[in-house]
């Protein structure tokens, strides 16, 4: 073997395994977030990802007659149901999972592991503004159910 690709394949394999672990860890945090909101609101709530786009249309390039929408790189984490949703916070996950950046109101958190990610979400959940968002969603879902 002249180019030693095997060694690189092993390295890539190890890193891919770590990426899969990171993604599972992140998913675990989202699952626990959802379960906690359900327990708090005593109603079924789902989490939805929505791509965020740049708001400023001046910088948008044209594709034919249409303005291209430029993604910001962030994902909006919406809570609710398929009929009613509100954004709780937005986040940006690195291709390998971490670091993961979370933005809530005027606060930005950068997290490089599961503990830091869970801590950042705990910080958001203890914020009164976040609580009002959660309460509004719960109340709308309960209204829709009656």
């Amino acid at each position: 073997m002249k180019f030693n690709f095997n060694e690189m394949l092993v390295k890539g394999h190890e890193q891919a395994e770590q990426t899969l672990i990171n993604r599972t860890e992140i998913q675990e945090v989202f699952t626990e977030l959802r379960e906690s909101i359900i327990e708090y609101g005593e109603i079924t709530v789902s989490l939805y990802d929505q791509v965020e786009f740049e708001a400023n249309s001046n910088s948008r390039p044209m594709i034919g007659l249409f303005e291209a929408r430029i993604p910001t790189g962030y994902t909006l984490l919406n809570i609710g149901s398929d009929k009613f949703q509100k954004t709780l916070f937005k986040y940006k996950e690195a291709p390998d999972g971490y670091p993961i950046s979370i933005e809530f109101l005027y606060e930005k958190f950068l997290c490089s592991n599961q503990d830091e990610f869970a801590s950042a979400i705990s910080g958001i959940l203890s914020n009164p503004q976040a609580n009002l968002i959660i309460r509004e969603v719960i109340s709308k879902l309960k209204e829709a159910n009656t």
């Binding site: 950046s101 005027y106 930005k108 958190f109 950068l110 503990d115 950042a120 910080g123």
Partner: protein, 292 residues
Amino acid sequence: MWWNVGLSPASKQAKSKSTDLSYRVLLDNINSIIDMYNVDFIALGEVSNQDVLFLEKNIDYNKFSILDLTQQVGKTRFDVCVIFKHTKIIVKFEDQIKATLQGQTIKAGQSVKVVNLDDESSIIVYLCHWASRNRDENREKRIKSADTISFYAREKTMKDHDVIIMGDFNDNPFDESIYDRLNATRCTERVKKYPKELFYNPFWRYLMSSTPYSHHQLCTKYLSGTYRFSHIKGNWHLFDQILVSGSLLGGSNWHLDESETFVLNSNQFSELLEKKPLIFDHFPVICQLVRP
């Protein structure tokens, strides 16, 4: 301009130095800096909400405004405010930037947007006051802060924003946080080649004393930094710095003017650092941006 005035450290153990005397001395010095150097943006570190109220009442409100950034974060707080010339620029608060390290919240910095009124161009400024050197484990906090600010600052530089990072980093230009994590280098050529990835740190120049040693000279002071405290490798430390994005070295309408970028260690300020009772223990740092 950045100046850690040391009036009201965020740490609960630290005593406030806010007195009538310190307020008067601070105000006199801010006014003299404004007159001498025509400064439009002044960020002050280690201030409290009370200090900001005093400044608000006593600055020239026809020309200047204050942005109070002394926001509470858990059990601690940010300790910065910005005085700005509202006839030329507007400063808007953008974000608090935080991280966690082993359950502790790390105050990495705050970002503000500085909008120039005559052409509406803007610069994003990150204001930082990182963990002090009084505990060894704070080194990890400063590195975490640097990684965090670097992540968000890079998001901005990649989108062609002009960015400045300033503050009391409690680290020198050669320390890991500044040099390796923030990617702030002294090499103009390299920064010009990779303006979106690297920051330029003009304060490397001030690591050495401006007075070279010579047996001909009778000199007792060799100022070489912004903060003096006894350490095994030296008494002077350059903890206060202003770092600029590569765009400000030729990729933007605005340019760094290095000849007007310096540590303000004139006799007036040297005396301040020696006066008893000691009020101020840091020199201010100034950086000028020009539009040809």
